[in-house]
């Protein structure tokens, strides 16, 4: 993990988490899945850097 920031980086994490859940309020499973996919693509584009993205993909894959 060279480029991906895995340290705490979000100010007011509880607020963000609540916001993340709030956008799913009242959505069906299908609508939520679609929203998540759009969100992933938007965030991935913001990151842009392929190495960082590759590390993020691997980080998401890693399970204990």
């Amino acid at each position: 993990m060279a480029k991906l920031n895995t340290k705490p980086n979000i100010a007011a994490p509880d607020d963000f988490y609540a916001d993340l859940l709030a956008i799913h309020d009242g959505l069906s499973k299908e609508e939520s899945d679609a929203l998540n996919a759009r969100l992933i693509l938007i965030l991935a584009n913001h990151v842009g850097d392929r190495e960082t993205l590759a590390e993020a993909l691997a980080a998401a894959q890693a399970r204990n």
Partner: protein, 546 residues
């Protein structure tokens, strides 16, 4: 007013025998028949190979069980690089004059247009990014070029009604049995080039592998003649109301013929779907009830992405769909096949002339397998986007399409086919040194030469068919020879192109350059200035004699 399709005695071109069966002296009993090169298949790839060889004065016989150009638009999109190769083969002009050039594409999702794009092709090229042209015209112009060469006395023969029935490898050659309306005959050849399509009978007769991925889907393709005012654009639909859950494509071709591709899904009755009473309602739903049209051709295809493990098997060499098959998205079938023969023919000539070792042909495998793998990867990715294979892949596909309506960033993710671009033979054993520092990567060794304006014409018009030393503001001798192989000088100056494209593509920050170029217009090596020993060494490397 629509142009009428070419008519020949009241028949359409694909209904007209162009090279009908005629008995050859080879069929006389007890004739001992030997030909240097025999090509199986008079499709786009076989004809391109035959023309290339005949232009180099290698006698060539093309055998095909048929005697006409193919029916239906089939390959339809021809990209810049194959058009440049056709220029070298002497038949680029009729293709481009007839073809339809388009730059604007529209992408639809569900019931709405999500975005449009303009390809904005790079300036300073003789040929467009690509043209739409029915495969029957493509084949027709190649056949006409064959007839031209025959009139010039070139050793090229096209035998219709000649069906290959067996292939037997022998020492330093191949033994063939051929069936004709007058019965069978035999011939020997030194080299056999199999351009006999995805179902290659040669490959089957030799029991060779053809492994890869089958895509479980069916596409209805229709050539529709209509007097409609759709603009000259490429329209692609994902999940449209008239073809729910599937995709659709509308493309303009010459003569008022439109190409329509409708994805049908997997579990369908192909014969039933092909019937006009089933096709016409589908097309009406797409085009609108009031559009008058006529069906010229309907076909249903499934496709596979696969290739042979090796394209060269002794004295039998496979090219085009016979060697590799891709999905149609991105127009990489015929386009890559023409690049196969472009790569092969000069090598075969050197080997036949005894100037290069047989092992030079191994580089055909290396370079064109590299090309095939690139094409298979790109066309498989397009297919996975167009026809998602899992729930999550559909979710991401739809997310990208949704976002593309509002946000630019998502548009490059939308994949309705990536246009065929020529591959760079990075890592090829034929590549020499790249000693031109600060030069553009696009002209590195292994790359096909990009076109550029040069004086009143274009650079590529002066390249190809032989080894060349391209000197840009550098001193080189008129010719250099090594082991009987000659490279001729072409001296130019960056000042020959006031637009600056030539310098941008071949010099970058460098002040001068010397390029060693192959007969197929690929870069072999480059330096800032001429060094005889270095050029000779690179010439040996590029011809498999290092």
């Amino acid at each position: 007013m629509l142009d009428k399709p070419v008519e020949t005695g009241g028949k359409k071109i694909f209904e007209t025998p162009l090279y009908p069966y005629r008995q050859s002296p080879d069929q006389k009993p007890d004739a001992k028949v030997h030909h240097p090169v025999v090509i199986i298949g008079a499709g786009p790839i076989g004809l391109a190979a035959a023309i290339d060889l005949a232009q180099m004065d290698i006698p060539v016989v093309v055998l095909d069980e048929n005697d006409k150009v193919s029916w239906g638009s089939r390959a339809i999109c021809f990209a810049k690089r194959p058009l440049e190769i056709l220029d070298r083969l002497g038949c680029g002009d009729p293709m481009v004059d007839k073809g339809v050039v388009w730059n604007v594409g529209k992408v639809f999702f569900d019931d709405r247009q999500v975005y449009d794009f303009n390809l904005l092709p790079e300036k300073g090229h003789k040929r467009p990014a690509f043209i739409n042209l029915q495969q029957y015209y493509f084949e027709l112009y190649l056949v006409e070029r064959v007839f031209d060469l025959q009139r010039q006395g070139k050793p090229i023969e096209l035998r219709g009604g000649n069906k290959l029935v067996s292939v037997k490898e022998k020492d330093n050659g191949v033994n063939l049995s051929i069936d004709t309306p007058d019965g069978p005959y035999r011939m020997d050849c030194d080299w056999l080039i199999a351009c006999d399509g995805a179902g290659s009978p040669v490959r089957a007769m030799m029991g060779l592998d053809f492994v890869g991925r089958v895509f479980e889907d069916n596409f209805l393709i229709a050539d529709v003649v209509m007097d409609a005012d759709f603009p000259t654009e490429r329209w692609f639909w994902f999940d449209p109301p008239f073809n729910r859950g599937q995709s659709a494509l509308l493309h303009k071709q010459p003569d008022g013929v439109w190409r329509i591709d409708l994805q049908l899904g997997w579990n369908i009755d192909k014969e039933k779907e092909k019937q006009p009473e089933n096709v016409i309602p589908r097309l009406k739903a797409m085009l609108g009830d009031d559009v008058k049209f006529e069906l010229e051709w309907v076909s249903i295809y499934t496709f596979q992405c696969r290739r042979m493990e090796k394209f060269r098997h002794g004295h039998v060499i496979f090219a085009g769909d016979a060697a590799h098959q891709v999905s149609p998205f991105g127009a990489r079938g015929a386009n890559s096949g023409v690049q196969d023969t472009d790569n092969l023919c000069w090598k075969l000539k050197l080997v036949m002339d005894g100037l290069a070792p047989d092992s030079l042909l191994e580089s055909y495998d290396v370079e064109r397998i590299h090309g095939a793998d690139e094409n298979i990867m790109n066309s498989s990715r397009s297919t996975d986007f167009i026809t998602p294979k899992s729930e999550i892949s559909r979710i991401f596909r739809d997310a990208a399409l949704d976002l593309s309506e509002r946000y630019d960033f998502a548009r490059p993710l939308v994949n309705s086919g990536r246009l065929s671009v020529p591959c760079v033979y990075d890592g090829s054993p034929l590549n020499g040194p790249d000693l031109l520092t600060d030069a553009p990567a696009r002209t590195r060794p292994g790359a096909p030469c990009p076109d550029a304006p040069l004086g009143e014409g274009f650079l590529l018009g002066r390249l190809g068919g032989k080894f060349q030393l391209l000197a840009i503001d550098a001193e080189v001798p008129d010719r250099i020879e090594d082991g009987g192989i000659v490279a001729e000088a072409l001296r130019i100056s960056a000042a020959d192109d006031p637009s600056g494209d030539l310098a941008a593509r071949y010099l970058g920050a460098a002040k001068s350059a010397v390029y060693l170029l192959r007969p197929d217009q690929h870069v072999a090596a480059r330096w800032p200035s001429y060094d005889e020993a270095a050029v000779k060494a690179a010439l040996r490397t590029a011809t498999g004699r290092a």
